[in-house]
Symmetry: C2
Subunit: 695 residues, 2 copies
Amino acid sequence: MKNFETRAAAAVLLCAIAALIFSFINFFAVKHHDEGNTSIKSVGKKIRRGAMAYLRRQYGTVGIFFVIMYLILTGLSMKGFLSPFVPFAFLTGGFFSGLSGFIGMKIATYANTRTACAAQKGLNKALKIAFSAGSVMGLTVVGLGLLDISVWFIILKFIFKLNINDTMTAMLTFGMGASSMALFARVGGGIFTKAADVGADLVGKVEAEIPEDDPRNPACIADNVGDNVGDVAGMGADLYESYVGSIISCGALAATAGLGFNGVLVPMLIAAIGILASIAGTFFVSVKEDASQKVLLSSLRRGTYISSILSAIGAAILIFTLLPESSNVFWAVISGLLSGVLIGFFTEYYTSDSYKPTKELASSSSTGSATVIIDGIALGMSSTAIPVIIIGISVIVSFFTAGGFASFAKGLYGVGLSAVGMLSTLGITLATDAYGPVADNAGGIAEMTSMPSFVRERTDALDSLGNTTAATGKGFAIGSAALTALALIVSYTDKVTAMGVKLNLSVTNPAVLIGLFVGAMLPFLFSAMTMRAVGRAAQKIVIEVRRQFHEIKGLMEGTAEADYESCVDICTKSSLREMIFPAALGIAAPIATGLVLGCNGVVGMLSGSLISGFALAIMMANSGGAWDNAKKYIEAGNFNGKGSENHKAAVVGDTVGDPFKDTSGPSVNILIKLLSMVSIVFAAVIASYGGMGLF
Amino acid sequence: MKNFETRAAAAVLLCAIAALIFSFINFFAVKHHDEGNTSIKSVGKKIRRGAMAYLRRQYGTVGIFFVIMYLILTGLSMKGFLSPFVPFAFLTGGFFSGLSGFIGMKIATYANTRTACAAQKGLNKALKIAFSAGSVMGLTVVGLGLLDISVWFIILKFIFKLNINDTMTAMLTFGMGASSMALFARVGGGIFTKAADVGADLVGKVEAEIPEDDPRNPACIADNVGDNVGDVAGMGADLYESYVGSIISCGALAATAGLGFNGVLVPMLIAAIGILASIAGTFFVSVKEDASQKVLLSSLRRGTYISSILSAIGAAILIFTLLPESSNVFWAVISGLLSGVLIGFFTEYYTSDSYKPTKELASSSSTGSATVIIDGIALGMSSTAIPVIIIGISVIVSFFTAGGFASFAKGLYGVGLSAVGMLSTLGITLATDAYGPVADNAGGIAEMTSMPSFVRERTDALDSLGNTTAATGKGFAIGSAALTALALIVSYTDKVTAMGVKLNLSVTNPAVLIGLFVGAMLPFLFSAMTMRAVGRAAQKIVIEVRRQFHEIKGLMEGTAEADYESCVDICTKSSLREMIFPAALGIAAPIATGLVLGCNGVVGMLSGSLISGFALAIMMANSGGAWDNAKKYIEAGNFNGKGSENHKAAVVGDTVGDPFKDTSGPSVNILIKLLSMVSIVFAAVIASYGGMGLF
């Protein structure tokens, strides 16, 4: 069996490397394409430079945090609270999460100009480049994720020969590093992109009445930089963390269930199969020239569905061969895969203008912006019901098929596996998601460099599709976050129980109950902080753009150039400053709760934040997505079209939805996992000092 | 000791009767005042007639529901699942909850014209009448509440000589009847009032540009009727239910804690003391002529604070005399009283334009309605933090001082007592709350009957104060709902444990976990339903008002009268139709959850809905309150004043806030208690048939 472990770990490592190689090939393939004339190159360079400058400074700020945490963790490990691997594991998690975002953004900023150029020649050519860039991102995230996991596993297991519990603890800390980095990247990037977007729109579109992405708007470069740092780099770090988190937490549950290293290797192998399936799927994404929207979408879907089916087949073979005696866990994986697809579908149902909810939302614009807001919030709120039911069914199926009747721990391992199943095809789902911002940027570049209108039409076709696939992607991100957080909570209880803490997790225990209240409140407070941060940063952009319109002579006439850099600079500074408090809340809340309420209180807090955060994240993502598409639906000529009162009302909805769907909503996903990770890492401290002697 | 029980029950009954007598005296005192000239009388009559017509039809619709539930409960009691008292107890709870609303509305519709008349003579005279009407409402609610409880107690205990558990079960069903009625009244009334308000504003103020309450607006009578059926009758039924629920659930906890009938009588006696303190407090509400806003407010506050202090002293004497060996529970009562006052204060802090948050919200109107919405939602979300901490501290204090260290059950009894403490002075807090809609209506009548502008100024001064006291009242309602629901959840677990169900309430139990997810989602779904209902009903009013403006010649010139009745009729019909589904959700959800997930799942669901509902209710109440006052702040001349772009942006916020604060927010409070009540009543069925054989 030793032999099997080595071979399995090696196979996982090889699949990870395969993903990275495939990703590098695509990277250079994209770079090889024509970037167009000097004007395009110059705009592209400005965006790239702005985005890179932001990332560099973000890493600098986050670096300080990581150094502080490293010192704290080292201190705790020297006192015997943590294993000596923990501080270093924490650093690597953060590093690779950041690296995933960095590479994704690098390729996105190369691909945007090239997609715009290719769109001059044809739709399929543009799709190919944008999608290739997306798959670089997708495969980098899963490749780096699985690389790190397998390398750590090999080091801890084969070199240091740690036992299974110590191995998993060190690996969970690696997850906490990734979560911290992801939270910074999502919050910081989310604030940047929405501050620039809202700021540019408020002065440019509304006050000066110039179109979006008009080169006269001083914030237009910042807006495009924002798409890259928020929607690309932020999302990359975010999904890296989800992916890694689901595999590690499932492994930790295997340890508790007494399934040994084999139980840890199964989720890694499922992920490895998912990588191969994703690579295969990317070859099926292609359309004929001038295909319709529908054909484009079905082409992207074809890739995803083929990957899912291949993944399922692969997982079946794997499980029936390796675990013949508990082959039922196969259904856990399938339930995860299916739940992801279903949540994605319902997200699309609620947010796409092909379906009733968003059409009705658009019609509410007839009675003004207030009704658009009320209806949009109601839409988001009611869209929480189905995902909750799907997750509930998935938990039931995976718990009981994995053996929950006989062994509670095995059932929970099944729940962990369903999260891994849901994310196993992340390589391709992320590719279809990440291609959106590339197409969006390409459209902006086409506008800024005055390309013929049919180019913009083609990039718009790609972009609007990107909204749909992004909605699906958000569904996956939220669903997997819920299952992963759940697995992490169980890991936490296992860990503190192993330390000798006697837990009483009944919801009637005051500590658990107060913890639940506090936990349910945290996503609300956190969302308020991030929304306000966007508001404050946007305010600064508004003032700067107004100043430039006023002071730079000839700007409106197109004879003088705007000072784009100052807007990028303002966004960078504000978002880095504004990301600190929300992130600090994520780290401080579990520690403070633990010190006051003890370990039972921490579990209550984690559960409370999971369930309210899940509902809130779905509501914000879907309200935001529906507002965006309702506006687009009106712009497409429905309900009196662009420029009408209906349109103005819908624009208000869209503006409110921006921080909902791109800043607060996705950040809440990370928050609920980070809270669990921090709790796990600080478990020993809380077990010793928490509870004020009362709990 | 038997002797003591009889004497105590008699004392409680006498205090309840005292409240009712005092309330009747005030009723006739108000009615005795001058109602003014024929034009005032005619408007007053229209409002009264509309309101009564609505209530009659509401009781008809609700009656059908009560008959069905009565039959179901009778069937279950015949099968031995429930005691034979249950069906009848259910009916009486519903009846008295409805009666509280009815009497409150009766007096409010007598007082509105008389307040308008008195305002011609002076501010203090108007305040006296409006506040007397409020105290009729407040004292009727507490009087009827305590009357029913004590009469039931006397019948069950002394006549049928039931044991303590059967007594408390029958009384909890009485609570379920009250909750059901309250939910119908709040949801139906809330939809009526906001549909009329939003509909009247959208066409009248925005399209036709005529002032609020202009007699040319066909919806103006419906708008004023709405204030009565929503803010008065709905609130009366709501708080009746909270009041009764807190006392009964505390009694049920006394039974579990083994404190016997004495333990049940303590909360009843505390409530009785609170009634006497409230009556005393009403005598301190009075101002000199033409007092400032500040003096008015401090006059109302004086009444509340004096009542609180008297209540605390009375509770201290009671507890130290009756329970010398566990006199520490006194601190539980005090922590409840204090928490109510503190939550009320922070509600005011977040929603009054005297403080920073609402001022900043008003300033966000400079960048348009989108930023007003974002900031308002962020304000509401961040305002959830402090109440959660207050409730947390209150639970800790009351749990441990009541003996939670030694006995879990005794600690939970302390938590129940803190809810009773919080609501003990409801007689006067509700009076200061209910006087608001009377003043609001008086202002409307002054406008409709073209009284001199100083009259409107005086009623406006009273009304704007009403907003502040209403905010405080909402804080009390939300805080007490949380504590009461908590006590009810514990009662539920006691009840099913007594039936022989072995509970595993750990949050890592899949049934509990899925229950938590479902529960956290329910308040979102419920709020979406109620908000949409307002939207649909308002839409119908918009169409009708437009039709009348178009078809009735001379309406805009003031030569023809509008068809007010048709608007009242539309609101009535829509709100009665729209209230059915949300109410059905409240009844069906616990039963469905129980059937699928079993008793553990029900507890999870109840806890989930409690914690997410608490956060959501606070958010919606405070966002709504702050938007309302931010608009008023701008209308008072700040940020370019009335008619400016800032004002328009603030009006959008206010319109969004209307269903938030007056329909969905307060209904969520009732929902979380109704879910618990229904679970308790159907516990035996679920214990036998729930869980699908899995859980």
